[in-house]
């Protein structure tokens, strides 16, 4: 008895929704980043689930690229947080309003 693919897709959708809630409501920059990583991971789960359903390994290769891009994004984003923290002593995104208006 194998698990239907739609269960995996639903789980991925739930993880994505949780990540979205986190990214929209948290104010700490690091927490927002963690939520974005969660959303990326949910998308990866969807890709691998569809790769299994289609019996095609292209999905797994796309996951490989998504992981590389996520690593680059985390490195640059955290460096920016360090730069902002030097100047403002906070990474609360509500107080990073330099470019808001």
């Amino acid at each position: 008895m194998s698990v239907p693919i739609s269960w995996y897709l639903l789980l991925a959708a739930a993880l994505f929704a949780i990540g979205t809630i986190g990214a929209l409501t948290r104010r700490n920059g690091i927490s927002i980043f963690l939520s974005i990583e969660l959303m990326l991971n949910a998308a990866n789960l969807t890709l691998v689930a569809y790769a299994r359903q289609m019996d095609d390994r292209t999905g797994q290769l796309i996951v490989f690229f998504v992981m590389a891009v996520a690593a680059a994004e985390a490195a640059v984003g955290l460096a920016l947080f360090i730069a902002v923290f030097r100047q403002r002593h906070t990474i609360d995104v509500n107080r990073m309003n330099l470019m808001r208006w």
Binding site: S2, L15, L24, L34, A49, R52, A72, L78, F85, R88
Partner: protein, 209 residues
Amino acid sequence: METLIFALFAALALGSSIVVVTHKSPIYATLSLVLTLFAVAALFVLLGAPFVGALQILVYAGAIVVLFLFVIMLLNVQKEETAHGSRGPQLWTAIVGAVVFLGMMGLVFWRSGSPAVPPLTAESVSLKALARELFSTYLLPFEIVGLLLLVAVIGATVAARRPDALDRIGEGGEPEYLSGDEPRTDPLKSLPDPHRPSVAEPAYKEATS
């Protein structure tokens, strides 16, 4: 049996991801993210993608999360400040949006039924076949991703360096970032560092004045 393993890791992933977005302390949120990533890696293996599962543990749980932990410790981020503003409306809007999204996805999957899953073959989990496709069909994207990582490393180094690291070498004068109305002390410099001259007595000022 497979259903049992799926249920176990799905519950683990859901529970720890909820902790990721609700915990006040970034350290615990990050450690909880590790748990989520491990659970999703187990699901990858269950889906017949052991290479992606191993990559998930190596790259995500091994490298990215360690980067997060280092930055959190470097910045000494305290718990989220709750002094200003209420986030009630924001929270409820986000939750309603997420529930609507989840309901729509559930409806789509429920209506579309579940087609039979093709059986796993040795060919479909073969690492050799995966590598052959990666280095033939997807060779150009692979190279571009390598370039992207190089650019990211250089960009991160430039963005995170000390702002006065280059000003010291130049003609002197106050570094630009000190002249604004920003706080004048660098929190990362507050730790005593015997190898670096303190900001209070820059050597270059005497040389140029």
